[in-house]
């Protein structure tokens, strides 16, 4: 009944560790090796050992099974293992799964992970060429013969309607790209460290799929990211200040499809993210004004504007105005505004299917981010957009 009523998960689990590999175009090692390295790094960060782990969660798209990661990472018996579907929409839901397990005593230490060679091996951006005749395959099969094959093209079909509906031009997306790259420029872990861009750079970049330009698209990446979730009680005894999961939610809309929800409503919003937003606000008891910084899933810029609208930071169609003029950048000192994707996002830091964004939220709440929002107490994080998705509100105790 959580579509209609606050749930009771808030405050009953915490993120105690984060760890990642380097982000690169060619990792030079297997996806399994990346996963194991990330899990170890997150456990080290928490001050835990592999034998402390009794749960693992990842994405259905991940090629590294929980049991194999356990095998190779020195993890023993598992009482909880789970995978979430729908690509990047799984990111925050892995933490929700871990929190559910921890809050109910199903497991005590759950590691969430995602690792891939998405740049050097299987690039999503090269596009589909065939699908099995399953229900999912059939859904994609309606668009494939016409050449709508890539994530950029699926997002662009929504974005074009959004621009049309609100009388905007593709320049409306530029402030999102500029903010991401502004933050990445001062993040040594970021792909685009010391390489900020301007609005003019965005306008001059080549078309990928109109109305999306190159600089509207994320940086495909090799790498791994892991997060350690445990009870707040146990987290207090570990190395870092606990980051509490104030609310966690999944969402799918009516007539939802995975990336091809073209057949419903006006294509100007993200109804599934609206489902997530309503739950997060209700369970956390917070409002947009209470959020100090947000990590909004940014594989492509247009959906960042729609997320600002779905979460109520601004009204429908007002995302472009809300983002313009540097209002998404750290240091904005005018009225309104919200620092978004302070690590550089998936356009600037790395495309890790949203998991690196959760780690950034943890750093902000620990006070250790390279682009620290002073005194950040509450951070909103979202997962993949245009797909069934998930979100988190994280906070300090």
């Amino acid at each position: 009944m959580s579509l209609h009523r606050a749930d009771t998960l808030g405050g009953r689990a915490a993120v105690a560790g984060i760890g990642a590999t380097e982000f690169s175009k060619d990792s030079g090692r297997s996806e399994l090796k990346l996963a194991v390295e990330a899990v170890h790094a997150a456990l080290d960060d928490a001050g835990l050992r592999p034998q402390d782990v009794d749960g693992l969660v990842t994405f259905t798209m991940d090629t590294n099974p929980e049991i194999t990661v356990a095998q190779a990472a020195g993890i023993g018996e598992l009482s909880f293992f789970s995978r979430i579907h729908y690509g990047g929409g799984a990111a925050c839901a892995t933490v929700q799964q871990a929190a559910l397990a921890v809050a109910t005593g199903i497991a005590e230490v759950v590691v969430c992970y995602r690792a891939f060679n998405e740049r050097s091996q299987h690039r999503f951006g090269t596009g589909l060429m065939s699908r099995q005749a399953s229900a999912e395959g059939v859904a994609m099969g309606w668009t494939m013969p016409y050449g709508l094959l890539t994530p950029a093209s699926w997002v662009a079909l929504h974005a074009q309607r959004y621009l049309h509906s609100y009388g905007l031009t593709p320049d409306a997306f530029a402030p999102v790209a500029v903010a991401d790259r502004f933050h990445a420029a001062t993040n040594p872990a970021a792909y685009f460290y010391r390489r900020p861009i301007t609005l003019a750079d965005h306008a001059a970049s080549r078309w990928i799929v109109e109305p999306l330009r190159l600089l509207d698209c994320c940086q495909e990446t090799d790498g791994g990211q892991a997060l350690v979730v445990t009870t707040p009680e146990r987290a207090r005894d570990l190395r870092h200040t606990p980051v509490v999961i104030a609310a966690a939610a999944q969402g799918a809309g009516r007539n939802q499809e995975a990336m091809t929800s073209f057949y419903r409503d006006g294509l100007t919003g993200l109804p599934e993210m609206g489902v997530v937003a309503r739950q997060l606000w209700r369970t956390s008891g917070l409002t947009p004004a209470d959020i100090d910084t947000a990590v909004l899933y940014d594989h492509f810029t247009p959906f960042v504007l729609m997320q600002l609208e779905e979460f109520g930071f601004c009204g429908p169609g007002e995302g472009a105005d809300f983002a313009a003029g540097g209002r998404l950048q750290l240091g904005w000192d005018g009225a309104g505004g919200l620092p978004v994707n302070t690590h550089g996002g998936q356009l600037g830091e790395a495309y890790l299917h949203g998991m690196n964004g959760i780690a950034e939220a943890v750093r902000q709440l620990r006070g250790t981010a390279v682009n620290q929002v002073p005194g950040a107490q509450r951070v909103l994080v979202t997962a993949g957009t245009g797909v069934p998705t998930s979100g988190l509100v994280l906070g300090r105790e």
């Binding site: 060429m129 065939s130 013969p145 709508l148 074009q160 309607r161 080549r206 294509l267």
Partner: protein
């Protein structure tokens, strides 16, 4: 090495040709019956011959010049030699590929047609879907005089020009065709299973079908076994009327899969049908940069390769001709061939068609040309006068096919119109034609 076939360029194909029969009402009537053309301009006092019937007057008939009418067709020794040399080179099969006719004056009963023809070109060897061969193009100038009124041949005036292209070819083995297809870059295939097979069955029959919930009446697309509005699993399939509007679109620049490189960048559109459902498709017939949200579009079918035909959309407008569907019966093929005096065996004899590599008899180009003319004049009415038809043939039309003609006015200059016509079967475009006509009152010509 020089191509010896080039020596035929410019040589006569027919000299002093004389139609076996004067233009006459019975042949016109037989032709109109075969084509299903009920245009009033072709009957009664003051009737003219259907312009698209032009070539019928100069055909050699059964035996092609060896029978009682021998010599009347005026075919030259050079042309016979060319065809013989092509036969000797193994290019024994023949198929007409293009027909371009310009009609200067209407032909009327009582006139005798005279003609001269020249070999315009012989192509280098080409590899085609049918096999390796050479295209032979001839150009014919036709004149006529009113024999019934006592005019002399010297008084003949130009009535038409006619450019005709045939392919003389060696039929390719079926396996070779399939191997060649495998090497081509093909579009991604549709994904078909039990839940959406009805949609693709509809496409094969030239229909775009959506579903409608039997219980709550909600129209839906894409196909699903149940209704999202009410949960009912009872539904019926309905054919879309074909009218729609672009709801959104993208222009793909990168990456462009090999199958789409010929038209890069390319547009993909989300089309909202008038029935209220949306589908992703391509908008063809205008540059990708000109696709816009709100653009009215009309359903068409595009044959992408031998296995794939897709419902697509083209810009709609008041200049669209209503489609015309013609079942391709064995009778139509044979009657059309005979009424146009075309006795090539592949148009009436199944066994000989098989022997020449065809799966069945197929429609002759004179019939295709006649149907194109009929389609446009059915729309334009009996006062319209055809001034030219150019037809290019694609896939053959066999018994059991259905030809769907669509057309659109692509040019207007006062009373003169240009109409683009496509006649498709489920395997793709059979005839792609440009038709020129004038809406001038016929009396102007009659009075001159």
């Amino acid at each position: 090495m020089t191509d010896t076939f080039q020596a035929y360029t410019g040589r006569p194909a027919a000299v002093g040709g004389r139609a076996l029969d004067p233009v006459n009402a019975p042949m016109i009537r037989h032709w109109c019956e075969a084509m299903g053309d009920a245009n009033a301009a072709y009957t009664g006092p003051g009737a003219v011959a259907p312009p698209a019937m032009l070539q019928s007057w100069t055909m050699g008939g059964l035996g092609n010049g060896t029978g009682p009418g021998s010599g009347a067709t005026g075919r030259s020794a050079a042309y016979d030699e060319l065809l013989g040399t092509l036969d000797a080179a193994g290019f024994t099969s023949v198929v007409a590929t293009d027909c371009e006719q310009e009609y200067l004056r209407s032909l009327r009963p009582g006139q005798r047609v005279l003609y001269d023809s020249e070999i315009e070109s012989v192509s280098a060897e080409k590899t085609t879907a049918l096999g390796v061969g050479r295209f032979v193009t001839t150009r014919t100038d036709l004149r006529a005089y009113d024999e019934a009124a006592g005019e002399k041949p010297e008084e003949a005036v130009p009535v038409a020009t006619h450019r005709f292209r045939i392919l003389k070819f060696r039929p390719a083995a079926r396996e070779v065709n399939e191997a060649a297809a495998g090497e081509r870059a093909l579009r991604p295939r549709p994904v078909v299973n039990r839940d959406n097979a009805g949609f693709w069955a509809g496409v094969a029959e030239g229909e775009l079908r959506f579903q409608r919930c039997t219980d709550c009446g909600t129209a839906r697309f894409p196909w699903l076994p149940g209704c999202n509005a009410c949960g009912s699993d009872a539904w019926t399939a309905e054919p879309a009327g074909g009218a729609g509007t672009v709801y959104s679109y993208v222009v793909v620049h990168h990456p462009v899969p090999a199958a789409f490189r010929g038209s890069s960048p390319y547009a993909v559109a989300l089309v909202e049908l008038d029935e209220g459902v949306r589908m992703v498709s391509n908008v063809l017939g205008l540059p990708a940069a000109e696709v816009r949200i709100g653009l009215p579009v009309r359903l068409d079918f595009e044959r992408c390769d031998e296995e794939l035909t897709l419902p697509v959309f083209r810009p709609a407008g008041p200049d669209d001709l209503p489609p015309l569907r013609i079942p391709v019966t064995r009778t139509l093929i044979v009657a059309g061939a005979i009424a146009s005096r075309d006795y090539q065996d592949v148009h009436h004899d199944v066994e000989l068609a098989h022997a020449k590599g065809a799966p069945d008899i197929f429609m002759n180009i004179l019939t295709s040309n006649g149907l194109v003319g009929r389609y446009v004049t059915d729309w334009a009415g009996p006062r319209a006068r055809l001034t030219g038809i150019s037809v290019r043939l694609g896939v053959p039309a066999h018994p059991g096919d259905e030809l769907t003609f669509t057309g659109r006015v692509t040019g207007r200059d006062g009373p003169r119109l240009t109409v683009a016509v496509t006649g498709r079967t489920r395997r793709g475009a059979h005839a792609t034609a440009t038709v020129r006509l004038t809406l001038d009152d016929l009396t102007a010509e009659e009075q001159s």
